[in-house]
């Protein structure tokens, strides 16, 4: 097959792919903290739908599409993270072309598969995961992502329910630009740590009960705050300045 993909039409992957157990994708709420770093400039081509048979007469869809990503000025990039928003793609494979790969020589410009049949929609026929944001890190890949000159994303959708599928808002970040966790609050990261220090002191009162009371008290202070009124009596004086003892004849 052309384009360097040795792929067979999508339907074959039906039974096979569901068996694959990849690490769960990391989902980001849309656009959180994204502004603080810049994606690598790249040219994105596609998606190009693969078709079986004659382009004009044969309408059978293979259920495979390809997105090509190239970096301008033939600059090689150490890819750290690939972020995109799904649009009804069920499985994703990524192949890369690298510069100066370690076994440099006659076969140095070879396509390598760095992600194979990564599941984006748990059940291709249903909506689950169909429009999720996904972030793939280099640690999740099958090979290193150093000195990448181009990427080819192979999208598969075995279900005939979705005629069009693609990836949107594709962004690639290079190394040394790890997601800065500046505003990441400390309390959130320690939410799961620290197993309960079970009754260090015997004299300690019941923390469960105390906590429940304290939380209710806290809630009551919030009731007051949410009911605040902007109405004023309309006093003009600074508090207490008309006190008879403070009046003077100056």
């Amino acid at each position: 097959m052309c384009l360097g993909i040795r792929a067979v039409p999508g339907l074959v992957y039906y039974g096979v792919l569901i068996l694959s157990s990849r690490p769960k994708p990391t989902y980001w709420p849309s656009g959180v903290n994204r502004m603080s770093r810049d994606p690598v400039l790249c040219t994105i081509k596609g998606p190009i739908m693969l078709q079986v048979g004659d382009v004009k007469t044969d309408f059978a869809r293979a259920g495979v599409a390809v997105i090509d990503v190239t970096f301008p000025q033939t600059k090689a990039v150490d890819v750290q993270e690939i972020v995109f928003k799904n649009y009804y793609t069920a499985f994703l494979s990524i192949r890369i072309l690298q510069n100066n790969h370690h076994c440099s020589g006659e076969r140095s410009r070879n396509w390598r598969t760095c992600l194979r049949n990564y599941c984006l929609m748990p059940n291709p026929h249903t909506e689950d995961g169909s429009q999720e944001y996904t972030s793939l890190f280099r640690q999740q890949m099958l090979c290193d992502l150093d000195q990448v000159t181009s990427l080819r994303l192979i999208l598969r959708q075995p279900s005939p329910v979705w005629l069009h599928f693609s990836l949107e808002e594709l962004q690639i970040y290079h190394c040394g630009q790890e997601n800065p966790q500046k505003g990441f609050p400390l309390w959130l990261s320690c939410l799961l740590s620290q197993e309960q220090p079970t009754k260090v002191h015997n004299a300690l009162p019941d923390a469960e009960k105390a906590s429940s009371e304290v939380q209710q008290m806290w809630m009551l202070t919030e009731v007051i705050q949410t009911n605040e009124t902007a109405a004023r009596i309309g006093r003009f004086d600074v508090d207490g300045c008309y006190d008879i003892n403070l009046l003077s004849y100056t």
Binding site: L188, P205, A207, A210, S211, E213, M217, I224, E228, A231
Partner: protein, 283 residues
């Protein structure tokens, strides 16, 4: 026999058909007709609606109270035996307080209705042309609510310092609503603080260090929560988790400070101070 009762004389005045005429004329169509004529049907319906709205724990006492207030207001309307001005004002105050206590503040609509009824009922007494409640009556209402809720006097004076109006000031409805609500929420807060003290007091005496650690944690949460920063609530809430609280208490116990006990009264005042930091002062 019924006509002889003095209480019903007033109602009779408004009856279109005098008793004597009724005896001579056609017989009242039936029991239902009679009830409608004397206004009992409407009155009972309103009473039932009020009960449904307020959902009191003791319906009998509630209804007794309701009818008592009703009789008083009728007497006032018809001008029968008008009591002297101080007594009249006292009655109005009673009625306003009664309105305010009809529904719990969490039943928003009912509570707001009742607050406006109370406000209206207090404004009638003001003789000046400017409608509204003056500062003296307003303070009296707040004081009554707190005293009837058995709030400690020192907390009451702290609260009043923050939301009191001067005697001559006209109090707008919104301020009245906010302040009465604050009183009721404060009462609930105190009762929660009371049961918290009970938890901390389980060994017979509440350790001052532990109490202060707990209150300190609560204070931190109150300070940290900001209405305009939604995530601040997550942070504040995380401070009050049982394990965090246990850690704080544990740390307080380990600190090398002399241990002494904290009285309930002291504890409540300190808690109330925390609450009052969130109360907006009136200006």
């Amino acid at each position: 026999m019924m006509a002889a009762s003095p209480a019903l004389k007033l109602a009779e005045k408004r009856r279109p058909v005098p008793v004597a005429a009724a005896a001579v004329g056609p017989v009242p169509a039936g029991e239902a007709e009679f009830l409608r004529q004397v206004g009992v049907t409407g009155m009972l319906r309103e009473a039932l609606l009020t009960v449904l709205e307020a959902r009191p724990e003791e319906p009998v006492a509630f209804l007794a109270d309701y009818f008592e207030k009703l009789a008083l207001s009728r007497a006032e309307e018809t001008g029968g035996e008008v009591p002297g001005p101080p007594a009249l004002q006292q009655q109005r105050l009673d009625r306003a307080i009664w309105y305010l206590r009809l529904a719990h503040y969490s039943q928003r609509t009912a509570f707001h209705n009742n607050v406006s009824m109370a406000y209206e009922c207090l404004s009638i007494g003001v003789k000046k042309k400017r409608p509204g409640v003056n500062g003296r009556i307003y303070s009296e209402v707040l004081r009554r609510i707190c005293r009837e809720g058995e709030a400690p006097e020192d907390i009451l004076s702290l609260l009043l310092k923050k939301i009191q109006c001067r005697d001559y000031e006209a109090v707008p409805y919104d301020v009245f609503r906010y302040s009465t609500l604050t009183c009721f929420v404060l009462l609930e807060f105190i009762s929660k603080a009371n049961s918290l003290y009970h938890v901390l007091d389980d060994s017979g005496q509440a350790d001052k260090r532990v109490c202060q650690a707990v209150l300190g944690t609560l204070g931190e949460a109150i300070m940290a929560s900001d209405l305009y920063v939604p995530t601040s609530y997550l942070e504040a809430g995380s401070k009050l988790r049982p394990d965090c609280l246990a850690l704080a208490m544990d740390k307080a116990l380990l600190a090398r400070r002399p241990s002494s006990s904290m009285s309930r009264r002291e504890f409540l005042s300190e808690a109330a101070v925390l609450f009052l930091t969130k109360v907006k002062p009136i200006n």
